[in-house]
């Protein structure tokens, strides 16, 4: 992940932005998508379709509230099912945005600039979808405020020693901080849109949202200070969130969950799936809006490298799970490991290995990393694999715990699928709205990049 050092052959690496761009051309190109470009038939049809899927989500949640969680496939002993699988999957996807924005910012990686904005938006939408699942999984979402500590007339308080309460704090903090980070990043761009807007209502909306930003040197000084601090704060935060999510499992004594490898391997898996989702979105987006000059092939290749690296950490996690099960000699752990290979859900485990470990090895080849259709397919495979991982973790352990009398089987119902597909629709619909409503690439940061490029990289990254 070296920034802009010379390649071994002594020739300059490809630039992070298409040559020939100026401050004005970058601004024009990105802001015109929001301000002047008419809504195309493709966007409208896509939006209508996604809106339909969101209505399916509404229906599924409405029916759930009417009938209760019995409409899902969950039972005793498998009380978690799709709701928690999807929660962990979505929250994992939500990790790439803040990783790109915060960690790559601290590491001074220039390639974050053209992808950070929509990766952050993706994070927010994914966290929103994630948060929905535990909420409706309670069966009585209108009572969800019970999870927060407040002086109730019943005189009871949350159990702060429970990972489930840690989760409430971790996810709500993550959502809040991601929103703040995103908004701070947007602020100068909202001012740009305000100044360039032609119609009155655009001027009013962006005028209000930009808070009167005028880009004075004093403003920028405080702004950069706050942004750097936020990046520093969000870095441990992003690592903590999936750690806490993994505690939901690892703190319990259920075989297959009670392992110390869970926190690091969950975090790596989250980044893995997050980058896969960034690719899934970036590839069509750059094509549809002609952003190939900003999100270059080199960006895609860089993301593929991150996927390869985090994928290998995940593979190591799978290996250690098996190793520890057999090394410990604990008969329940050994049994569970064998259940993964030979139990009723074994096909899911093999599919998981195929999607998450075997297929991504193709990314070792530069030809594959620079082949856009291959990367797109790969990103979909990895996201499927990460979903399967959570399914394997939740379902196999719960169906095969200590006593055979407590064993069970799990199969999702149509309502489980409707809810899951519904959140996919919600997520994509929000992305559709975001792309046309706000600048999908950070304009002021792109201008900075143009500035740095025009003065040669001073070799400080």
């Amino acid at each position: 992940m070296s920034g802009d050092d010379k390649l071994p052959g002594g020739h300059e690496p490809e630039p992070w932005i298409e040559p020939g761009h100026t401050y004005a051309s970058v601004t024009d190109k990105i802001s015109s998508v929001v301000l002047t470009r008419p809504l195309g038939i493709g966007w409208l049809l896509g939006f209508a379709f996604l809106f339909g899927i969101v209505m399916v989500l509404n229906l599924a949640i409405g029916w759930l509230i009417t009938k209760g969680v019995g409409i899902w496939g969950i039972n005793i002993p498998i009380g978690w099912g799709f709701a928690i699988v999807n929660f962990v999957w979505w929250i994992g996807i939500g990790h790439a945005g803040t990783l790109i924005s915060a960690i790559l910012y601290l590491l001074n990686q220039k390639w974050r600039t053209s992808i950070n904005r929509f990766a952050e938006a993706m994070t927010l939408f994914a966290v929103a979808c994630a948060g929905l699942f535990p909420l409706i999984h309670t069966g009585r979402p209108w009572m969800a405020y019970y999870m927060f500590p407040y002086p109730s007339t019943m005189g009871i308080w949350p159990q702060f020693r429970s990972p489930l309460i840690w989760d409430v704090f971790a996810v709500s903090t993550y959502g809040t901080v991601s929103l703040l980070f995103w908004f701070v990043g947007l602020l100068p761009d909202l001012a740009t849109l305000r100044d360039r807007a032609k119609s009155r209502w655009q001027q009013v909306i962006f005028g209000v949202l930009s808070l009167g930003w005028r880009g004075s040197a004093r403003h920028w000084h405080r702004y950069q200070s706050a942004y750097l601090l936020l990046a520093g704060l969000a870095t441990p935060l992003v690592l903590s969130v999936h750690t806490v999510v993994s505690f939901d499992f690892a703190v319990g004594i259920v075989p297959g969950w009670h392992t110390t490898i869970f926190p690091p391997y969950f975090v790596a898996g989250a980044i893995y799936s997050g980058f896969a989702m960034v690719l899934t979105l970036a590839i069509p987006l750059r094509k549809a809006y002609g952003m190939e000059g900003f999100i270059t092939l080199r960006h895609l290749e860089q993301m593929a490298k991150v996927m390869l690296a985090t994928g290998l950490i995940v593979a190591y996690g799978y290996f250690i799970e098996f190793f520890m099960a057999f090394y410990s000699g604990n008969k329940f752990d050994v049994f569970l490991a064998k259940q993964r290979l030979h139990g009723p859900y074994a096909p899911f485990y093999y599919a998981l290995i195929l999607c998450n470990i075997l297929t991504p090895q193709l990314l070792w080849f530069k030809k594959v990393r620079r082949n856009i259709p291959a990367l797109f397919v790969m990103s979909l495979i990895i996201n499927t694999g990460m979903w399967l991982e959570r399914f394997v973790i939740v379902v196999i352990s719960l169906t095969r715990d200590f006593m055979p009398s407590a064993w069970g089987r799990y199969s999702p119902t149509v309502w489980d699928y409707a809810t899951f597909v519904g959140t996919l629709g919600l997520f994509t619909m929000l992305i559709f709205l975001f792309v046309r409503g706000l600048p999908a690439i950070a304009i002021s940061e792109m201008r900075e990049l143009v500035h740095e490029d025009s003065h040669g990289s001073e070799g400080h990254s």
Binding site: T192, R214, H219, W220, R222, Y223, S225, A234, V244, S444
Partner: protein, 182 residues
């Protein structure tokens, strides 16, 4: 705008590169102007020092937010688990502090982030929908590709004619008066 009383806020010069703005800002300070402000479409290194701005309270506020958030987080959990709602489970200690770390950490980050963002906005006096510089028509370019230097009228050395000439001598492309409408 009809006959509204307006007073002079300052004089503003326009530049097309960050380097020329930075050089002009330094010269303005050297010439003895104190109330100088520069406006740019992206942060320019060294510019805030050039306008005479050195220290910001944002990091201090962030630290306060973080410490406050952390103390709130731990204090809340200690008070709930050990004082107001103690649950004795097999005689385990009520102040089980290792179990309180995740929430303490999250609230530390939350407090620090909120203070960083809202502290930054408050110190920048935002939201502020109206500012005299917006009255200059060309200032809309300040968020695209132009760089502006404004010498404010409250500066003791300010003189409309002299200061305008001074800005022109720095090769400013357009020199405009900035009017403040009351």
């Amino acid at each position: 705008m009809s006959e509204r009383r307006s007073q002079l806020f300052g004089v503003m010069g326009e530049f097309s590169t960050p380097e020329s703005l930075l050089a002009a800002t330094k010269k303005a300070r050297e010439a003895g102007y104190k109330h100088v402000e520069a406006y740019t479409p992206f942060p320019v290194e060294g510019l805030s020092e050039a306008v005479g701005f050195k220290w910001t309270a944002v990091p201090l506020l962030t630290l306060m937010g973080g410490v406050g958030g952390g103390l709130t987080g731990f204090g809340l959990q200690y008070w709930v688990a050990a004082i107001t709602y103690p649950i004795n489970i097999g005689g385990r200690p009520l102040n089980s502090w290792p179990a309180f770390i995740p929430v303490t950490f999250e609230l530390t980050v939350l407090g620090a982030s909120i203070f960083a963002v809202f502290g930054m906005l408050a110190l920048n006096k935002l939201p502020q929908p109206y500012h005299p510089v917006f009255n200059v028509e060309r200032f809309a370019q300040a968020s695209t590709d132009k760089f502006f230097l404004c010498i404010e009228a409250r500066d003791p050395k300010f003189d409309l004619v002299e200061t305008s000439k001074f800005l022109q001598s720095l090769h400013a492309q357009h020199v405009n008066e900035v009017k403040d409408e009351e």
